[in-house]
C-alpha cells in the first residue's frame, strides 16, 4: 500500500562502526590503562620517587602478601562489624523518624531545624567528643557510622513521604481510607524508592565514617591499617587496604542500586 521506497537517493542502511558504538567503554578503559601504564613507567624510570607514589606492580605484590596473611580478614571483620552495627542502628532510627517527619508538619517545624544544623555541619568533627564519651574502641566507631548514615536516610525518607503523588492520596481518600491506611498502604510503599536512595547515600557516608574513625584512633580495622602503613610510608600496603574498602563500599552501593531498580520497575510511572 504505501511505498517505503523513494525515487530519490535515500540514506544507506548501515550499522555504525564498532568503534563509535562502543565509544564509551573503549575510551574509559583506555584511559585507565594509560594511567596505570604511566604510573608504572614513571616509577620504573625514576621520574617519580616510587617510595612516595608506589607502583601498580608493587601494589599487586603487596596485595598477594596481605591477602595471605591472617590479620587481613581480621581487620576487615573489625571494620565490617563497626559498619554493620552503626548502619543497622541508623536504619532503625532514621526510617521511622523520617516517616514521622514526613507526615507531621508540626514535627517538622520543631525537629527539622536542629536536625538540619547537625546535617550540614561536618560530623567528622564530632570524633574527639565521641572518643571522650565512648572510648577508643567499638563504641565510638559505631557512633560515627551511625551519625554518618542516619541523616541521608532520614532526609530522603522524609522527602519521599512528602513527595508522594497527590493523586494517589486523593484516590485513596475517595475510597474511604483512614489516615493509618493511607500511611501504611500508600505513603510508605510510595516512598520506598526515595528511602532506598537515602540508604544508598547512607552506605557511602557510613563507609567513609568507619574509615575516618579508624584512622583517627583505633587499635584495629581497615582505617587503622591505612594509617599505620601510611605513617610507615608503606604506600603499597596502604593502597591495598584503600582499594579493599573502596570495593566494599562500591559493592554495597551497587547492591542497593539493584534493589532500587527492582522497585522502580514495579512503578508504572515516575
Amino acid at each position: 500500500m504505501t511505498a517505503l521506497t523513494s525515487t530519490a537517493p535515500v540514506a544507506r542502511i548501515h550499522r555504525e562502526p564498532f568503534f563509535k558504538r562502543h565509544h564509551r567503554p573503549i575510551v574509559s578503559t583506555l584511559s585507565v590503562l594509560c594511567f596505570l601504564l604511566l604510573w608504572e613507567v614513571a616509577a620504573m624510570q625514576g621520574w617519580v620517587n616510587a617510595r612516595f607514589t608506589s607502583q601498580p606492580t608493587q601494589v599487586y605484590k603487596a596485595a598477594l602478601v596481605i591477602f595471605a596473611k591472617d590479620d587481613f580478614a581480621w581487620h576487615c571483620g573489625v571494620s565490617f562489624v563497626s559498619f554493620a552495627l552503626g548502619f543497622a542502628m541508623a536504619l532503625a532510627v532514621s526510617i521511622p523518624l523520617g516517616l514521622y517527619l514526613g507526615v507531621s508538619r508540626r514535627g517538622r517545624l520543631f525537629i527539622e531545624p536542629p536536625l538540619m544544623a547537625l546535617y550540614t555541619a561536618p560530623r567528622i568533627v564530632l570524633l574527639p567528643i565521641l572518643i571522650v564519651w565512648l572510648g577508643i574502641g567499638l563504641g565510638s566507631k559505631v557512633a560515627i557510622v551511625f551519625l554518618g548514615a542516619v541523616f541521608p536516610i532520614m532526609v530522603n525518607t522524609m522527602a519521599g513521604v512528602r513527595g508522594a503523588d497527590h493523586r494517589l492520596l486523593t484516590a485513596a481518600r475517595a475510597f474511604g481510607a483512614t489516615r493509618m491506611d493511607i500511611f501504611l498502604k500508600v505513603l510508605v510503599p510510595g516512598s520506598l524508592p526515595a528511602i532506598l536512595m537515602g540508604v544508598r547515600l547512607g552506605v557511602g557516608r557510613g563507609v567513609l565514617s568507619v574509615v575516618v574513625g579508624e584512622m583517627f584512633v583505633s587499635e584495629a580495622g581497615i582505617g587503622h591499617q591505612i594509617m599505620t602503613y601510611g605513617q610507615a610510608m608503606q604506600f603499597n600496603n596502604l593502597l591495598v587496604y584503600a582499594f579493599t574498602i573502596s570495593l566494599f563500599g562500591y559493592g554495597l552501593t551497587v547492591a542497593v542500586r539493584m534493589l532500587e531498580d527492582r522497585i522502580r520497575s514495579w512503578r508504572p510511572s515516575a
Binding site: M1, A3, L4, S6, A8, V10, A11, R15
Partner: protein
Amino acid sequence: MSQDVAASGRMEIRDLSITYRKPKSDEIFTAVDRVSLTIEKGSFVTIVGSSGCGKSTLLLAMAGLIPRAAGSITLGGAEVTKPGPDRAMVFQDASLLPWRTVHGNVRFALELQRWKRDDIDERALRYVRMVGLAAFADYHPHQLSGGMRQRVNIARALCVDPDVLLMDEPFGALDAQTREVMCDELLRIWERDKKTAIFVTHAIDEAIFLGDRVVVMGRNPGHVREVIEIDLPRPRTSAMLDSPAFVAYRRQLREYIAADLLALQMVEALV
C-alpha cells in the same frame, strides 16, 4: 517586475522527501514523501492532518532544522539548508529563557542575529507592545500564563523581520478559550505586515479560520492529499464560524481526514 517581487518571497517545495532512521534498528522511515508545494508571498497557509502525517516534519525542514533526503526547498530562489534570518519559527512550546524578562526574551532573537546594539532594545520593545504585553515587559516567563508566553514567542519571531513565519501548533498547549482569543490576536498582528505565514495545526476550525489555503496532509507516508482554497473575506471574524461556507469547508476537511484514518484502520486490520 512584479513577478520578481512575488518570486522574492515565494517558497517553493519540490519533490521533498524526508526520512528518519528508526532508533535501534536499521529501518528507514519515510516521514515526508515527495511533497510539492508553492507558497506565495504574503499568503497565510495552514497545514492540517492527523498525527503522524509529517506536517511538523515538513515545517522543520522549511525552517532548515532537519536535513532532507531528496527534493528541494527554495525561498525567493535561494535554497533552504539551514536556519536563516529569512525564516522564523514559533514552536508549540514557547521555549522562553526563564531567566530573561519578556523584553529580554524578544531581544534574544535580535542578539542572535546580530542586529545593531543601539536598535535592539527599542525594536524589541516595539514588538512587545505589538502583541499587547507592554505592561508585562519586565515580567519573567514563570509569571505569565500560557497564552501570554506564546505571545512573547510570536513577538520574538516577528521582530527579526523574517520573510516567512513558521508556526508549529503554537496554540496546541492552550485551553480552548485562549486558543480562540489567540487566533484573533494572531490575525490582528498578521494583518499589519501580512508576512508569509505557514501554520501547522490539527484543529480543523483553526485551519479554516486562519488560512487563505489549507493543505491537507495524509499519513503513511506523509504526503499532500489536497489543497483547499478558503474563500472567506478578510478580516476574519468569529461570526464566520457559523457561516454555511465555513461549515462546508469543515465538512470537506473532516471527510479527508476521516478517510485517512479509515484507510489506516483497514490497513491495520489486514496486517
